[in-house]
């Protein structure tokens, strides 16, 4: 139902050879997700049970300390806890109770496991159970792992959401459930879109209040807004929900295909779909075309970071005319990118995991026009003459949907534009 004739033909790439690597990973751990999850669910507190390293990581990844008392913190294990002089469980309970006394506005407390808490086998599920017996109904305590030994960067969100699935009320009503943290402004845009298409009721997960999770059941259709929530979606499937397979809503094409998946499920007539989406597609294309001259024909290299690499490379390739040289992804969840892989060019190398030094060797040999990488690598690569884009901006900035398509392209065009301006 979308006019895709202007776009490159779909590659016959169903079985892609994967370059699997092991070695040093220049990727955050799952704790980092707290940075955006606590903004989304403002009645929740995220308490990492870990070390000073965990606290330092979140503080450094968050960049700025906007809040005096942020809705996240770290219960730092000390040698007393490790030596068994203090009962770690008693200590944890004490900290949680003190914390909740300070913050009576908190309704949900997430205990977040870390590398050290998992290595010493501190049972946070038991801790949550114990605290719930004491604190419910005023506060509910949940737990999940954000540890680096178990999770990469955005998997933290997946684990947090999966921990909330058991709290979702059962329903048999036919409904759409959009899964994956989105900026409120983007959620509102999508909500209006679905309403205009006659699709509903629509729920977003995570909810804006952790205490009000949406219901789920056998007539729930799940549409993934982020490619990294595979475990959550499988948990929802176990509750009877069905996943709609679609590319992710990046760019005009991606957003249209994504909406179309829901429209098909709701049997929205083609003319109604076209009438609703045409003005938005038009607007998005106008916004995109401005940046195309900076990007078309250029070669892009993605280092693994947020799992967004595959859908974003697809967007840059199909809508901005870029050539992805290598697409690195921390791990490949085929189910979550089933609709994306066939849209990638056959010439691209797809790599899973990381051995950062070997990958940088390939990067230098390929000498791409743009490298998408983490903050630890960006300046050193710039100093080697490579133009870079920090990948974390793609996680912290609203980039989904028609109205953000131009912003998304601009993020990738900015390094080239900046280079063109500078005369120093």
């Amino acid at each position: 139902m979308t006019d895709l004739s202007a776009l490159p033909p779909v590659g016959a790439r169903t079985e892609i050879p994967i370059l699997r690597e092991r070695g040093q990973r220049e990727v955050f751990c799952g704790l980092t997700g707290i940075v955006w999850l606590h903004r989304k669910m403002q009645d929740a507190f995220f308490l990492v049970v870990g070390s000073r390293t965990c606290a330092h990581l979140i503080q450094s990844a968050a960049g700025v300390m906007i809040f005096a008392e942020p809705r996240f913190g770290t219960a730092i294990l000390t040698d007393r806890d490790l030596a068994g002089m203090a009962d770690a469980n008693d200590e944890l309970d004490r900290i949680c109770v003190t914390l909740l006394e300070r913050r009576p506005d908190i309704r949900t407390l997430f205990l977040v496991g870390s590398c050290p808490s998992e290595v010493i086998k501190l049972d946070l599920a038991k801790a949550a159970e114990r605290l719930n017996a004491r604190l419910l109904p005023r506060v509910r305590v949940l737990n999940y792992s954000g540890s680096g030994i178990e999770t990469t960067f955005t998997q933290g969100e997946d684990n947090a959401l999966r921990a909330m699935v058991p709290l979702m009320a059962p329903t048999d009503e036919k409904q759409l459930l959009v899964v994956g943290c989105l900026a409120d402004v983007v959620e509102d845009q999508f909500r209006r879109c679905f309403e205009a298409l006659g699709i509903g009721p629509v729920h977003f997960f995570p909810p804006r209040r952790a205490a009000d999770p949406p219901p789920v059941g056998r007539n729930t259709a799940v549409l993934a807004a982020q490619p990294f929530n595979g475990e959550t979606i499988r948990a929802l499937a176990a509750r009877g929900a069905t996943m709609l397979s679609a590319p992710y809503p990046f760019g005009a094409e991606g957003t249209t295909a994504w909406l179309a998946a829901a429209a098909d499920e709701w049997e929205v007539p083609a003319d109604r779909f076209a009438a609703v989406t045409a003005p938005m597609i038009d607007r998005a294309r106008k916004a995109l075309v401005r940046h195309r001259s900076h990007l078309a024909g250029k070669r892009v290299f993605f280092l693994p970071d947020s799992q967004l690499e595959i859908p974003l490379a697809r967007f840059l390739h199909r809508e901005m005319g870029m050539e992805p040289v290598e697409i690195g992804t921390p791990y490949l969840d085929r189910q979550m990118v089933a609709a994306e892989l066939p849209l990638l060019p056959v010439t691209t190398t797809l790599s899973e995991g990381q051995h950062v030094d070997r990958q940088l060797d390939r990067l230098r040999a390929a000498a791409p026009d743009l490298t998408v990488c983490g903050l630890g690598l960006a300046n050193p690569l710039e100093a080697e003459g490579l133009a870079t884009k920090w990948s974390i901006e793609l996680v912290f900035t609203p980039i989904h949907g028609y109205e953000q398509a131009g912003d998304l392209a601009e993020i990738f065009a900015r390094p080239a534009e900046r280079r063109a301006r500078l005369r120093v």
């Binding site: 040093q24 942020p70 000390t78």
Partner: protein, 529 residues
């Protein structure tokens, strides 16, 4: 277990990274899980380093734990050595690896690499970043100088006649506060005195440079937080004397010059002779700040209440500068570093304030809020506190953020450092003449007296406007009559909080039940200012 929202220092292995990243030809293999590579961005983003820190991480995962994490260490050590060919290899672990007890340092030592392997044992659950930096520097010096330590009791050889005296400059590291420029400033001072800088370490030093440390005549302990352990060991083992003065501030710079001249056996007069302390003339010092502090515009700085917090070295120096060189009043002094807490306690006693030894951010915020200063001299953490409380702030110590690594030359040590500090501390305050105008026009209906200094933006538009309300609620606050409250509003905002607090304390002491205009002025007369 300790609840932490924001932390002043990272874990000790980040201190080790600061040392490794400052040096040349060393590499650090860190046994650590995924995620710990976040520390790289501290160097590449905050310090704007144009190279990756020389660190290779083993990145072990949960599935490795039952298997061969030790094998992962040895494979990583081999790969890192082959790829980077360092002159010395540091091997250590982060907090999680400490728990699985693979002993990466011992493993690497057993591999008989053709370069020195320096194992680092940095207890992550008891120690922090600065300690880790100091310990790493010490372990590097000890390992590389092993076998060169003279037997105890050996006399130190006399300096060859005719050779200029030599000093090592110890302590500057990446992510330290203004280390890059302080070193330049100190080098200039030493050169003027006829003293050669032999080795600067860790910043810019190679393992061979570390081996040359004992060839110098004495050491300059420029940053005790990172250098003191090493300097003390060099003193014990090689009989190398060491400076005690940190040249931050004009007075301290002069004392530093006298001290190094004495240690080097040179005449300080060529440099100190140009200094005339106490003289109000532009040419009375090599630092302009002496005249600036004495010029009449600076009168308004008199008695400004400042709260000082940082690492011990910078906090103690800042308190002295604030008192003796700016004419401020120190109303709070503290440090997050327990290693030098005793020195900070002594300094606090000297200024008659309660020392604040804390790494709990909320405790620091509470102390600042209660002291109601007009200026906060702190770390980038206090910048956030001050912004929220609507108080002027200048950063004087690590931890730093990207704006504390300016492009321009901006040392805080030496004569130029004294100038830089004068400018950076005065800038956030309401300017001298402007303060008079505020007083003159405060009743003008078009004049909003809670406006911040006109030359400052409203901090991104999101910061709260300065307010006279104490964020901490006073439990037994006394009621004000409406006339009293109105009169209070006429007092300029930057002293209003203090006036409110003093008046309420005054009223409480006298058992008054409400506060009137009379009480306000009685209290004003009582406290005076």
């Amino acid at each position: 277990m300790q609840l932490t929202l924001w932390t002043y220092e990272g874990p000790p292995h980040v201190g080790a990274m600061r040392v490794a990243a400052s040096m040349r030809d060393v590499h650090y293999v860190l046994h650590a899980p995924q995620g710990d590579t976040y520390a790289d961005l501290l160097f590449t983003m905050i310090d704007r380093s144009d190279r990756r820190p020389p660190v290779t991480y083993t990145t072990f995962q949960a599935r490795d734990l039952g298997g061969d994490t030790a094998g992962l260490v040895t494979r990583t050590v081999v790969e890192a050595y082959e790829r980077h060919r360092p002159q010395a290899l540091l091997v250590g672990e982060s907090c999680t690896a400490e728990l699985i007890q693979d002993q990466p340092g011992a493993l690497a030592l057993g591999m008989h690499l053709p370069v020195p392997v320096i194992p680092l044992e940095l207890p992550a659950y008891t120690k922090k970043e600065n300690w880790g930096a100091a310990e790493t520097f010490y372990q590097i010096a000890r390992s590389l100088l092993a076998g060169r330590v003279p037997p105890p009791g050996s006399a130190r050889g006399e300096r060859v006649a005719g050779r200029r005296p030599r000093a090592n400059v110890l302590g500057p590291t990446a992510l330290g506060f203004r280390c890059r420029d302080d070193v330049v400033e100190v080098r200039r001072l030493l050169e003027e005195l006829g003293i050669d800088v032999h080795v600067v370490a860790p910043m810019g030093a190679s393992p061979d440079d570390i081996r040359r440390l004992p060839e110098a005549d004495f050491n300059i302990d420029l940053y005790p937080e990172t250098a003191h352990t090493t300097a003390a060991w060099l003193q014990r083992s090689f009989g190398m004397p060491c400076t005690k003065t940190v040249p931050m501030g004009l007075g301290a710079t002069r004392e530093f010059i006298a001290e190094v001249a004495h240690l080097a056996g040179v005449d300080p007069q060529p440099v100190l002779g140009r200094e005339r302390p106490g003289v109000a003339r532009l040419d009375a010092s090599q630092a302009r700040m002496q005249w600036y502090a004495r010029s009449v515009d600076s009168t308004y700085l008199t008695g400004k209440r400042v709260f000082v917090f940082g690492d011990a070295t910078h906090a103690i120096a800042a308190a002295r500068i604030a008192t003796e060189e700016m004419g401020f009043t120190v109303v709070g002094l503290g440090t997050y570093g327990r290693e030098f807490a005793r020195d900070v306690r002594a300094a606090a006693a000297h200024y008659g304030v309660e020392p604040l030894i804390a790494d709990d951010y909320l405790e620091v915020e509470q102390a600042i809020s209660a002291a109601a200063p007009e200026l906060v001299l702190g770390t980038q953490m206090e910048r956030h506190i001050a912004k929220r409380l609507g108080i002027a702030c200048a950063v004087i110590s690590a931890p730093i953020h990207v704006q504390d690594v300016p492009a321009r030359y901006s040392p805080v040590y030496g004569f130029e450092g004294a100038n830089v500090l004068f400018d950076t501390w005065v800038h956030p305050l309401v300017m001298g003449l402007e303060e008079h105008l505020l007083q003159m026009f405060r009743d003008d209906f078009e004049f909003a007296d809670d406006a911040p200094a006109s030359h400052l933006p409203r901090a991104g538009g999101s910061a709260p406007a300065p307010t006279d309300q104490e964020p901490a609620v006073v439990p037994d606050a006394l009621p004000w009559t409406s006339e009293g409250e109105q009169e209070l509003r006429k007092i300029p905002f930057f002293v209003r909080g203090k006036a409110r607090r003093n008046t309420e304390a005054f009223a409480r002491e006298r058992g008054l039940r409400e506060i009137t205009v009379e009480t306000l002025y009685d209290a004003k007369a009582h406290f005076g200012r």
